[in-house]
Symmetry: C2
Subunit: 493 residues, 2 copies
């Protein structure tokens, strides 16, 4: 590692201004190897070589969601080099994403750069963040294949590279499920990434503006301003609540000409918030209906560009369609030849290891307990992912301290206590500073159920302290205060 | 107007939930007319009819920049209905745009929704904002042709409509000039709109991340991290300053692996900040060089996707190219059969009227004094546009009060004092809280020249109070404070 550092410094001191010296210094770096099988002009296959015995072991983390980021935050960078591979250079604070669509929060307030979660990634010589997708995995050789993400840049073609790992943590999350319904991917917007929220916001504001134009028919106006949310889980309910709140508070004022045309419909096949306590569910239904959300029980059969069709044949014209019906394993996870848990996730044991695959762990939505553990597959919740990341960070730190950090070196290490999940309760907000908090351990258990402003405030505050930096905590507080005083932002940029 | 209001209320009270009653109520509104020449299924040509004698006269404003927004802010909405036509629903606070590219400020802090500048637009029954481009003008009939802007929405095709005006204010600004150089529009990014700043930011951060990847050649790394700015006016200088500041403060910390590869080059054919006082120019040159910006004198001949070529044959590879070499008249302004000022802008007299075209005014960058006025064409500055907007608002309010608001009614009205421009000085920031302020009336005059932090602070504070709402003033202050404490934001969303 020190060699690498020296070479960097060496190359730096020799580098000259570009325009006076167009011949760049080509430095060969021991760590960055070039695959010699391809022709020199197409040399795009390189990577990070295996670490040597006197170097720090390398933990490679695939993904930058709750699980991966909490893990990286907790890893001891005195013990390990950390390499993160993800198509996204920030973590999304998902519980607050719905609020950004309507301008309650800024987009950046809910995105935390990985370099701020684990500073070593941007500073330490052997730690990196790679903006790339993982495309393959060789458990025998301890390597992963990656391909760079270059969208938005037409001058660079994506290229492939290989990374050797000592420990591999798969934390790639899950994918929004469409249940094979045609047209969902083409016409609906999911609510999982910041760019989804941006798309929803742009579309909502454009629809509002278009519907004010002369020459638009009444029918078209009603269609453009009909916002349909499919899926009555916490995300769908929260988004519906924020949206109707936005309509009640801001649209009435700012788009007075069309305020009576805008409507929100929430479509759910069963019950909304089905995992919540009965009394909370009734409270949510009452509150949503009161704030103008139409709750419709139905199953979507087909999605067209301007309408969706339910199984009973009802046609529902829409201007904005948000899809949040849960998640399932991604194609990459499906393709892995690992043991699988019920539901097709990567199968793990009590220590979050993938059994029979040395040095590979899986956490978060992409993983599930194997049937052999006799434990239930945990729900796809931020809470679970966060707890698993935290646990695995301690476990890896322990292994590292005991000298088992390098590949195939942890056979004789005592792993200690297995991971135990204790459900702290579920929460869903339903617009205007109201929230449901269900503190029961499971659907069958008895326990405390809270609703209203206090629960909203306590829960949010508690959650904010988990991963988010002080900068963003500060911004979120400022955003809330500003929205409270001045109303939401409605510029479409 | 009251009829219109009644009809709106009428239609509202009858509207029913969408899903229970799919037959929408079609209300014919007196104000929104439908062109009967097209077939009913393609009814897309409609508009706002001429106002009647007992209705408020209608001021139509084309554009939502400094000139148009300052005008709308000042118009007395007791006297006039205001209709704004623009492809952008917000005003951009252009002096702060450069700061948003590197994360010093949030994008939304520099965008002010028009509905906040002139609340009547979103509330008053006869006032509207139309997200549309103006495509034609009939001075005889007092109408403008418009076409809706629907980008980002694939389910709606753009349509045309017509608006009748009593007074028309053309405030459409100017267009970035490329001097006919090939490849500028394809490969360079301008810095005039918020989406330009977003594009610059996304590209800069992507280049930084890509250059950290294994498998990238040294040459490619240097190219990706070479930021070239063409044009040494205030915008080019400010952006270079912000960028080098970002590199010195943030990239060194956050992208330690590549910090020695990133460079900023500013290319200018003549002198940077040529309109400024000599001593200020020297100070700027010294400060920029000190902070690592390479100043190159040269003329660009050709722009390719990965390099630009100067007239002396030098090839300059770049990863990011920002173009800010001044502005010229837009194709629409060129197409207007109006008298023109030197430089091809819409020719105006001392009262900002377009002579011989009744009820039409032009302000801001799209307008210039006719030679017959013996006045010089004013520079394309926010300051000029702002002052013209303010003046014209008072003039139109005076005309309205004197009963000349309707079309062809102001012949006997005394217009009062003509518009007089007093230059308050020019400013440019050059990174890290340093600014130049030139208080001379013109290039030849003598006067006060300030530099450093105090001038930066005073000037910014003064400017912020012009158009921006309290909400955004507050946000800008918070953004500055946060950047000061926590450093800039580096998430790529």
């Amino acid at each position: 590692m020190s060699l690498f550092r020296n070479l960097i410094q060496h190359s730096t001191s020799k580098s000259k201004p570009l325009l006076t010296n167009p011949n760049f210094l080509f430095t060969s770096l021991s760590h960055f190897t070039t695959d010699t099988h391809t022709s020199p002009s197409l040399t795009r296959y390189a990577g990070l070589e295996p670490t040597k015995g006197d170097e720090k072991p390398r933990v490679v983390v695939l993904g930058s969601g709750w699980a991966g980021c909490r893990l990286m935050k907790g890893l001891d960078t005195e013990l390990y080099d950390v390499v993160c591979v993800s198509p996204r250079n920030h973590m999304v604070f998902t519980p607050l994403l719905a609020s950004t669509c309507v301008g309650t929060l800024e987009f950046r307030s809910v995105a935390e750069p990985i370099g701020r979660i684990q500073p070593a990634i941007s500073k330490a010589p052997g730690s990196y963040f790679f903006l790339a997708n993982c495309t393959g995995l060789d458990a025998e050789k301890h390597t992963v294949d990656c391909e760079t993400v270059t969208d938005g840049l037409d001058t660079v073609d994506p290229w492939k590279f290989k990374i050797s790992y000592d420990k591999l943590v798969v934390a790639m999350g899950a994918e929004a499920s469409t249940f094979g319904i045609q047209g969902v991917k083409e016409h609906a917007i999911f609510l999982r990434e910041v760019h989804h929220a941006q798309e929803i916001r742009r579309k909502l504001l454009l629809n509002l503006m278009l519907s004010e134009m002369p020459g638009i028919s009444e029918e078209e106006k009603s269609r453009l301003l009909h916002c349909v949310v499919v899926g009555g889980g916490p995300t769908g309910v929260e988004f519906s609540g924020e949206l109707s709140d936005f309509i009640m508070r801001d649209v009435r004022q700012r788009y007075a000409h069309v305020k009576d045309y805008i409507h929100v419909t929430l479509i759910e096949a069963n019950e909304i918030l089905s995992s919540f306590d009965d009394s909370l569910r009734h409270y949510a239904t009452k509150q949503l209906t009161k704030s103008g959300v139409r709750l419709v029980r139905g199953v979507v059969k087909d999605v067209k560009s301007q309408k969706l069709i339910l199984t009973d044949g009802t046609e529902v014209p829409y201007g904005l369609l948000v899809w949040s019906t849960g998640v399932g394993p991604s194609p990459f996870v499906k393709s892995l030849e690992f043991p699988k848990s019920p539901g097709g996730r990567i199968g793990i044991d009590e220590w979050l290891r993938v059994p029979s695959v040395p040095d590979v762990f899986a956490i978060g939505d992409c993983s599930g307990f194997l049937e052999s553990t006799s434990r239930p597959v945990l729900p796809a919740l931020a809470q679970v992912a966060e707890r698993q990341g935290k646990y695995l960070a301690s476990l890896l730190n322990k292994i590292g301290k005991d000298g088992g950090g390098h590949r195939n070196c942890d056979k004789d290490i005592e792993f200690g206590d297995p991971f135990v999940y204790r459900h702290l309760g579920s929460m869903a907000t339903i617009g205007r500073y109201k929230a449901l908090v269900d503190l029961r351990q499971s659907k069958e258990a008895k326990g405390l159920a809270l609703k209203g402003f206090t629960s909203w405030f306590i829960w949010r505050s508690a959650y904010l302290t988990r991963v988010i930096s002080w900068r963003n905590r500060f911004y979120v507080a400022i955003n809330w205060a500003t929205t409270f005083v001045f109303g939401r932002d409605i510029s479409r940029i």
